[in-house]
């Protein structure tokens, strides 16, 4: 796969505080890369360095095969799109005018009309941006990031504060970017967002990347066991319980099984219930998430 961004041993200090302690990141063409971490972990510092908003400390940054010295140069910025968290725009301007303004910043850009169509804001093109809903405003923010037809798009927590419907709409846009061959760098602390969208994920904590892999592998390797909770129409005897190969816990009036292979355990459970003529009710499955991965790796939650 073609590497579009390579970061090696990146550091950043604010006075004596070490925000980044030598991080490595690779971004490949056409992937959605998730960058997860709690507040203050170094997520925003990293993304702002890559967006050209902050000067890097030590380390190496390579964009499209070109080694970057100091700040991100203008010709590299021509190829990147940025969506900041909760971006606002100049008051009393129309959506089309905002895009016209942003298109003037780049040597080559798409027309505002093309981008408006792409983000499904056709009906709002002549509306003042201050009259749009949160989700529509975020779509305008994404539109400004796409005006230069960038190769990489940096999205910093793009769905924070949005209602579920707007969030779904933004996710749809991000998935469309991937389909169009764009590389997406996504920072988030929404687990379902990362799990749904990202091909690969890096988790950062205290200025260090603690793990990088696909979300499936992360959950599999660090998420812990899945749980099956269920009730029976009657409490089976200890002999019957012991006959189930999986270890079973009686918690209040329901049972809980912890398992590494949820499918196999479910099959076994069904056979067991038939064998002893037990009727299983209220069954629920709890699978490990990236939150559990983070908990396992750091001993605390992502939102702590």
């Amino acid at each position: 796969m073609e590497k579009v961004v390579e970061v090696k041993g990146l550091t950043k200090k604010y006075g004596r505080f070490e925000a980044l302690k030598g991080i490595d990141i690779n971004l490949y063409k056409g992937e959605i890369f998730g960058f997860l971490g709690p507040n203050g972990a170094g997520k925003t510092t990293t993304v702002e360095i890559l967006e050209g908003l902050r000067k890097p400390g030590e380390g190496e940054i390579v964009f499209f095969g070109e080694k970057i010295h100091g700040s991100i140069p203008a010709h590299v910025k021509e190829k990147i799109g940025v969506v900041l968290q909760e971006t606002r725009f100049l008051d009393h301007l129309k959506v089309k005018e905002i895009l016209e303004l942003f298109s003037s910043f780049f040597k080559n850009s798409k027309t505002p009309e093309e981008i408006i169509k792409m983000v499904h804001l056709d009906e709002k093109a002549e509306s003042y941006v201050d009259n749009l809903s949160g989700g529509q405003r975020q779509r305008v923010a994404i539109a400004t990031a796409l005006i230069n037809d960038p190769e990489i798009i940096f999205l910093d927590e793009p769905t924070v504060g949005l209602d579920p419907q707007s969030r779904e709409s933004v996710w749809g846009l991000i998935e469309a970017l991937k389909k169009n061959g764009k590389t997406v760098f996504l920072t988030t602390h929404y687990m379902e967002e990362a799990q749904r969208l990202c091909d690969r994920i890096s988790i950062i904590d205290n200025g260090k990347i603690i793990v990088s892999d696909t979300s499936q592998n992360l959950v599999k390797n660090y998420g812990g066991k899945s749980e099956i909770d269920f009730k029976c129409d009657r409490i089976p005897s200890q002999t019957i319980i012991d006959d189930l190969k999986s270890f079973i816990n009686l918690v209040d009036d329901h049972f809980r099984i912890e398992t590494d292979d949820i499918t196999k355990t479910l099959e076994e459970l069904v056979e067991w219930s038939k064998r002893y003529n037990l009727s299983i009710t209220n069954i629920s499955l709890v699978e490990p998430t990236l939150e559990d991965v983070f908990l396992t790796l750091t001993g605390r939650g992502l939102r702590d």
Partner: protein, 393 residues
């Protein structure tokens, strides 16, 4: 060039579509001018029978005491004496310019200057009249504003006073003589005597761009920073100077429109007699626009919340405006307030604009009218740029 023009255009769009901006930039200065003129144009013509008189006695001849006698006569007609028609204030010769301004701006009605050679002149006149020779009478200089009733009446009374003095000498000498004459000096001759409308118009032309600097620069900049709009711009290849100049020029453009609109309104509606076509006035106005924009930049980068900007703007705006001599002439201020006035860029701007618009002479030297606001420009712009550079690290 392209982003500069877009910033210029869209910042103007943003402001002209905002009713609040329109009120503060267009309606407020016009309202202020109208209200001030309607409320205070009768200053000094209130029909008072007591006139404020300033006397400066430059004559100091120890052998003859005529000048002191003149002062005594005015004193006898002044408060706290019964039936006093004058309120007398004596000043030293080095305060003459200050005294002239007090009369010009209606703080006092008339200024009498007893010249240096007054005593010897009277003595010479008396001697020569006894000898029957021709002589030139001694002269009292009287400064007044003819179109102000109180000033004009006071001038007439001083004329009557000299008549009484001449009668006294005529009785003493036993012949008709005129040893003292009055030389009237009309104040406000640059465009005729200034009315309150003339007086206040240059001040309004100072307030309007200053308000724009505070209300259309500071809160906007603060919003652009707090709303992360500036950061968003920084993530693009756009040169930051395009934003800086596009934004600044759009502000200055609004200020120029204010100048044209207000000046035309003042001349054609309020009948102000100001020299709107003075190139110096316009150049100084542009210089002031740069200063007020810099002040706006400093306030905008100093605080990031809209509420804090609004509060800070009010804290800056009110004292600077009231201590600029825009609405009323500033006289008899305690030293600590005077110190504040001398640091106030609006005071210098008002003085300069009054002189350049040919309303009245500036009480402060012209180099100070440029130097002090220039200092404000350097300090505030330096602060804004340094703060911004620090934030970007």
């Amino acid at each position: 060039m392209k982003p500069f023009l877009k910033f210029f255009k869209f910042h103007l769009f943003s402001d002209f579509r905002n009713r609040r901006s329109i009120f503060w930039v267009v309606i407020f200065p016009i309202l202020l001018l109208v209200l001030l003129v309607l409320s205070f144009s009768n200053l000094g013509t209130n029909g008072s029978l007591n006139f404020n008189v300033i006397v400066i006695n430059e004559s100091s001849n120890s052998n003859f005491d005529f000048s002191n006698r003149i002062v005594d006569i005015v004193k006898s007609m002044s408060k706290p004496n019964k039936n006093a028609v004058f309120t007398l204030e004596e000043m030293s010769p080095d305060q003459e310019k200050y005294a002239i301004n007090k009369v010009l701006y209606a703080a006092d009605d008339i200024l009498i200057v007893i010249p240096k050679d007054f005593d010897t002149s009277i003595a010479r006149s008396l001697l020569l009249s006894k000898l029957g020779a021709n002589f030139t009478p001694a002269t009292l200089e009287v400064f007044y504003v003819p179109n102000r009733a109180a000033s004009s009446l006071a001038q007439g009374m001083i004329g009557g006073l000299t008549g009484a003095i001449n009668s006294f000498f005529a009785q003493t000498l036993g012949q008709k003589v005129s040893v003292v004459t009055v030389k009237s000096q009309i104040l406000g001759e640059m465009m005729g005597s200034p009315s309150y409308t003339d007086f206040v118009t240059p001040g309004i032309l100072v307030i309007a761009p200053f308000t724009t600097g505070l209300l259309l620069v500071a809160p906007k900049l603060s919003f652009l920073r707090a709303g992360r709009v500036m950061r968003r711009y920084s993530s693009t290849p756009m040169n930051p100077m395009s934003f800086f100049f596009g934004f600044t020029f759009s502000r200055v453009f609004i200020m120029i429109l204010q100048y044209i609109g207000l000046a035309l309104f003042a001349i054609f509606v309020m009948k102000a007699r100001v020299d709107i076509f003075s190139f110096s006035a316009f150049l100084y106005y542009l210089f002031s626009c740069a200063v007020y924009t810099a002040i706006g930049f400093a306030v905008g980068v100093a605080v990031s919340s809209a509420v804090a900007v609004s509060a800070l703007s009010s804290v800056i705006n009110l004292p600077l405006e009231f201590l600029a001599g825009i609405y009323f002439p500033l006289f008899n201020l305690p030293w600590y307030i005077k110190a504040f006035v001398y640091m106030n860029p609006l005071w210098y701007a008002t003085n300069a604009m009054r002189e350049f618009l040919h309303v009245s002479e500036s009480p402060s030297p012209m180099w100070m009218n440029i130097f002090i606001p220039g200092l404000w420009f350097i300090i505030t712009m330096g602060f804004a740029l340094t703060k911004r550079a620090t934030e970007r690290k």
